[in-house]
């Protein structure tokens, strides 16, 4: 059974139909990368998966549990899905440690000492054990994003959603975040990543999903999509984005 099943997802904002029937499957341990021009519903898709945005139509299952069912406890589902935002969204009034610890204590009901140990382990895993007492405003963008990854990891997620995790970063800080993500993928984490980092997509993704105007245009393994795409539009987009962003990362 697939870990995540998304079936015929629709979402409209006013007159604009942002998602027009998106379906795909994510297996356990798989990393899929979603690419596509901006405004094609990639972020909306991620937010629909843990219902931070309510989809209008379509169904989602996580580990066999229907996320979109009104009877499902959505808070329990969200606790199992990590979310890494483009602009980090760390809790600004809390230290790095407390950012990671808050969910453990308030959502998982963990004791303070156990939560502290766990949070420290995750901070060390992203290379920030020495920044536990720093506040977000005292950290660089790359460090903030790594704390937010630690915050997601601490909850033992079945799946992590990344919404353009490096788009708000200075170029020299992108590498440290991608490095953490590569290690996660190699460690067997299930990940769904919206990104423009083609180097990352090419080397880490098991499959690439190309989205445009609210639908999936084409999906397949990176070697197929990059060298021999079925749809001409895919080739055109990949050529443009590779020229613009390069293949680094």
């Amino acid at each position: 059974m697939a870990l995540l099943v998304v079936e015929d997802l629709h979402k409209r904002y006013g007159k604009e139909e942002v998602l027009r029937g998106v379906s795909f499957v994510l297996e356990r341990g798989e990393t899929k990368v979603i690419i596509g021009p901006s405004g094609t519903g990639k972020s909306t898709l991620l937010r629909c998966i843990n219902r931070l945005t309510e989809p209008d139509r379509g169904r989602i299952w996580l580990n066999g549990v229907e996320v979109t069912s009104p009877r499902t406890n959505i808070y329990k589902i969200r606790a199992q899905i990590g979310f890494v935002f483009q602009d980090f969204n760390l809790f600004t009034h809390l230290t790095a440690l407390d950012n990671v610890r808050l969910g453990l204590i308030r959502v998982k009901g963990m004791g303070k000492r156990e939560a502290t140990e766990r949070a420290m382990r995750e901070l060390e895993r992203v290379g920030l054990g020495d920044k536990a007492d720093a506040y977000p405003a005292q950290l660089s963008g790359g460090q903030q994003q790594r704390v937010s990854i630690a915050r997601a990891l601490a909850m033992d997620p079945k799946l992590i959603l990344f919404d353009e995790p490096t788009s708000a970063l200075d170029p020299e800080l992108i590498g440290e975040v991608l490095q953490v993500m590569i290690e996660l993928a190699e460690g067997g984490m299930t990940m769904l990543v919206v990104t423009h980092e083609m180097g990352f997509a090419r080397s880490v993704a098991d499959e690439i999903i190309f989205m445009e105007k609210g639908v999936i245009v084409e999906q397949g393994p990176p070697e197929v999509l990059f060298t021999n795409p079925r749809v001409p539009r895919t080739a055109e987009f990949l050529r443009k984005i590779t020229e613009f962003y390069g293949e680094s990362g």
């Binding site: 935002f85 969204n89 809790f91 009034h93």
Partner: protein, 230 residues
Amino acid sequence: MTAVDWQNLVQGIPSLLRGLLVNLEILFGLIALGFAVGILIALIQVYSPRPLSALAVGYEWFFRGVPEMVLLMLIYFGLRQFRVGITPFIAAVIALGLRSSAYQSQIFRGAIQAVGRRQMMAALSVGMTRLQAIRHVILPQALRLSIPPWSNEFSSVLKDTTLASAIGVIEVFKKARFIMGRNYALALPIFMVVALFFLFLTYAGNWALGALERRYRIPGFEAKGAGERF
């Protein structure tokens, strides 16, 4: 001023201070009421669906729109008309407290909106409920942002406590008028003393709020803290 006037003035001061104590009691009561109701109204306005939030907007409109003196009369004499036993002191706390809650609600609403939806989204994404997110993520930040505008409201309600005299509360203003009534030569000095009391309390209160702001300043945002020069 004659020696007798001076003597009357000095003798009047303990009585004034006892009156001032009543003002402080009203102040604490009305601030506590205004704070609790103000936060509630702000949360309803920001997070509640339409019917409830419209009600909160109506509440805020009423208590910001009716003059304080009229509110005092409405609550004190109004309740008495319905044979609700209410002391002038309690009526003053309620009337001034509800008025303040409407003003405070807008301070808190602005602060909550300044914290932003993305903090709420981040809190929800780790599995917190909306109430948990409000309690542990939104309010701790919003309350910090509220301190500077809130110090305005504090300074304002501090002085408004003298309005309670209008429904018969024996507080500092009423006491000063008693003293003046007995010796008109004291009219100017006695109200100067009252003015000094309030100047001191405004200073002390704002100093304490500044200290609170510095105490809870978020590191990394130092330049935005109280008492900083740009």
